[in-house]
């Protein structure tokens, strides 16, 4: 079991003591049991926090859109309407759960869960910090792609099972959009994998640093273009505007979840908002330095050296800083996603496919080649280090 | 529990299910499902022998190529199915029985 968070927490004395005590009390080596319990608890925490973030996402969306449109937005429930999402949740749970009579019951019930499973499974490899990552799989990003594709199946089946023409059109649009835009996204990811030399999230982030010039975003011109391709493709994959054709209100009522009501609809919505968060997190990890913080604050070693702080404390502080760094960047991107949604008009279907196949995919392939050539030609150095080194060598330093 | 025997057994079950689907169904897409099952069984076998026989990576490579081939086969196969449907308005395998035209 390759679990980073368990490894990190087992450094603490309390956990060691608890393990010893349990071993004594139960009469067998309890370390794996403790590890399992810790893992399960952390998983629950992550799922809970993410659900909350998903819920807050709806609130943020409404508030930001209101701001962009010079409105006030939700303002009744709680201060500044911040508890609106709880009210919505309660409403959804209490609503009647309707399954249309012509629907394919089995598939109809399964579809939202498939979406949710796909999204939650990806959370296993989202790198919140160097210590707080559920599992640093060595095929991390690849696993994430595979799991995220379940969402497409869910959307498609949701559309099919509803036995409604709006839903079916929405589902088919959604699935075709998702599998089409997976291609430029994956190729861009591969070009970043080429820079980092590994598939695991740890490797991908490990090649970057806290300062912006150490990010892969500014590593070379190709990765700079790649970021935008990835971001656009991610928007399309998560069915966000301006690519929200599967749920285009003006054409398809509400797309693949037209016939869903109550908590089933809630699950679709939740899955969508969490997926947006995950995708922003991946963009952060791949291009924006992930959880890295400047000046070695992440490991806490500088605190121990300069201030003489306790080592574990410094480490924990570093973790908190790293989590802060990650969330700051991710939520910044989250804001951009919402901003884009309320700024740009929706594309037509043919424009959508043209954008993917005639622009993004060729550019992504060009980027991949460009990255490969860059890595070969400049020995993997970033454009900043090249400039810096040339300046330094002119100045006579080495 | 995890040993070659169980893996072969699982792969065997997958294979038999694939054959059942392939022969029993009359829907071309369903037959393709059966073929996918059979391909999975063989890929699983390669991976299992890699692990339990010599831990060489070649079995994984073979499995990868099987997956690649399966993907290509699915794409072309489904293309043919759709074309066939355009021509005959049917995906019943017995409608594909004429040996000419």
């Amino acid at each position: 079991m390759n679990s980073t968070v368990v490894t990190y927490l087992s450094q603490s004395k309390e956990l060691t003591l608890a393990t010893e005590w349990l071993t004594k009390a139960l009469g067998f080596n309890a370390s794996s049991l403790v590890a399992f319990i810790v893992f399960a608890v952390v998983c629950l925490i992550v799922v809970g926090v993410m659900s909350t973030i998903g819920g807050l996402g709806t609130y943020a969306e409404r508030k930001i859109s209101a701001d962009l449109q010079m409105r006030v937005g939700p303002n009744r429930v709680g201060p500044y309407g911040i508890l609106q999402f709880l009210a919505d949740g309660v409403k959804m749970i209490l609503k009647e759960d309707i399954i249309p009579s012509g629907a394919d019951r089995f598939t109809f019930i399964l579809a939202p869960f498939l979406c949710l499973i796909g999204v939650f499974a990806t959370l296993a490899v989202v790198p919140f910090s160097s210590g707080f990552m559920l599992a640093d799989l060595n095929v991390g990003i690849f696993y994430l792609l595979g799991m995220a594709s379940l969402v497409g199946v869910g959307v498609f089946l949701g559309g099919y099972a509803s036995n409604s023409k709006w839903s079916m059109l929405g589902g088919m649009r959604g699935a075709s959009q998702i599998i089409s835009y997976e291609i430029p996204a994956t190729i861009t990811i591969i070009s970043i994998v080429l820079l980092a030399g590994g598939l695991s999230m740890g490797t991908l982030i490990g090649g970057q640093g806290g300062m912006p010039q150490q990010w892969y975003l500014f590593h070379n011109p190709f990765s700079f273009i790649g970021f935008f391709i990835f971001f656009i493709a991610s928007l399309a994959e998560t069915n966000r505007a301006p690519f929200d054709l599967p749920e285009a209100e003006s054409e398809l009522v509400s797309g693949y979840h037209t016939e869903y009501s109550g908590m089933r609809f809630g699950l679709f919505a939740l899955a969508e908002y969490i997926e947006v968060f995950v995708v922003c997190g991946v963009a952060t990890a791949l291009f924006l330095g992930g959880y890295k913080v400047p000046f070695d604050l992440g490991t806490g070693s500088i605190l121990v050296e300069k201030l003489g702080m306790d080592e574990m404390l410094a480490k924990n502080l570093g973790q908190i800083l790293e989590i802060g760094s990650f969330f700051t960047k991710t939520l910044g991107l989250y804001y951009v996603v919402i901003w884009v949604r309320w700024t740009l008009p929706r594309l037509r279907v043919d424009q959508l496919m043209t954008l993917c196949w005639k622009y993004l995919t060729p550019i992504a392939i060009f980027n991949l080649l460009g990255c490969a050539v860059w890595m070969y030609a400049f020995d993997g150095k970033s454009i900043y280090s090249l400039l810096f080194e040339s300046v330094a060598s002119v100045a006579g330093h080495h | 529990m995890i040993n070659l025997g169980t893996y072969l057994g699982i792969s065997f079950a997958l294979f038999i299910c694939g054959i059942l689907v392939m022969v029993a169904r009359k829907n071309i897409i369903a037959i393709l499902l059966g073929i996918e099952l059979i391909l999975n069984a063989s890929a699983l076998n390669f991976a299992a022998y890699t692990k339990f026989s010599n831990n060489n990576i070649d079995g994984h490579i073979m499995s990868l190529f099987i997956i690649v081939t399966a993907a290509a086969e699915a794409a072309v196969g489904l293309g043919i199915v759709i074309r066939f449907f355009q021509l005959r308005e049917s995906i019943h395998i017995d409608d594909a029985a004429s040996l000419q035209n």
Binding site: - | A13, A47, D58, H60, F85, H92
Partner: protein, 178 residues
């Protein structure tokens, strides 16, 4: 313990999915069960340390093949003509007792053959402790780019051919305007 649990779950998912594919009367459901079975196989790969294979299985099958299948099912729904061109009634698309009987015979014969082949393996189970699972990604990368480079290139050509072939085959034929 964790691996064993994962293994049991995956095996159950694999075999259960496969059997459900056999017995489901609805093609769409069969496809979903096939997806479950694929996930089980991915889990089985993960159990024996084939991490890259597991991820590939997920990406290719869940993200590609199953959605393609679903698309094909949707695109070929249409009219169900129950009579063939000779005016005889066709066998039900998802099979009937007769076809299942034939399939059963075929399955029994082939299972006899397979069991005969794997009998020795099943009889002589080695109980030696398993080696630790090593990461395979780098090794696969190295081997693909060195020993198996030809097969790798050929498979790329195969995929390109499949891409073009599928596009050409499924394109509606248009009348020439001259």
């Amino acid at each position: 313990m964790f691996t064993n649990t994962l293994f049991l779950l995956s095996a159950a998912l694999t075999i259960g999915g496969a059997f459900a594919v056999v017995y489901s009367e609805n093609l769409m459901h069969a496809c979903i069960f096939l997806l479950a079975s694929f996930f089980g196989v991915a889990g089985l790969y993960a159990c024996i340390g084939a991490d890259f294979l597991a991820a590939t299985q997920l990406v290719v099958y869940a993200g590609g093949v199953v959605i393609l299948m679903l698309f094909a099912i949707m695109l070929t729904g249409g009219t169900a003509n129950n009579f063939n061109r000779f005016g005889l009634e066709k066998i039900a698309a998802m099979g009937n007792k007769k076809t299942y009987f034939m399939a059963g015979i075929t399955a029994v014969v082939s299972s006899l053959v397979l069991l005969k082949i794997i009998a020795n393996v099943l009889r002589n189970q080695s109980s030696a402790a398993l080696e630790a699972n090593l990461p395979t990604v780098e090794r696969i990368g190295t081997v693909l780019a060195t020993d198996h480079i030809l097969a790798f290139e050929i498979s790329s050509v195969l995929l390109l051919g499949a891409l073009i072939g599928a596009a050409v085959i499924s394109r509606p034929r248009t009348e020439k305007n001259d």
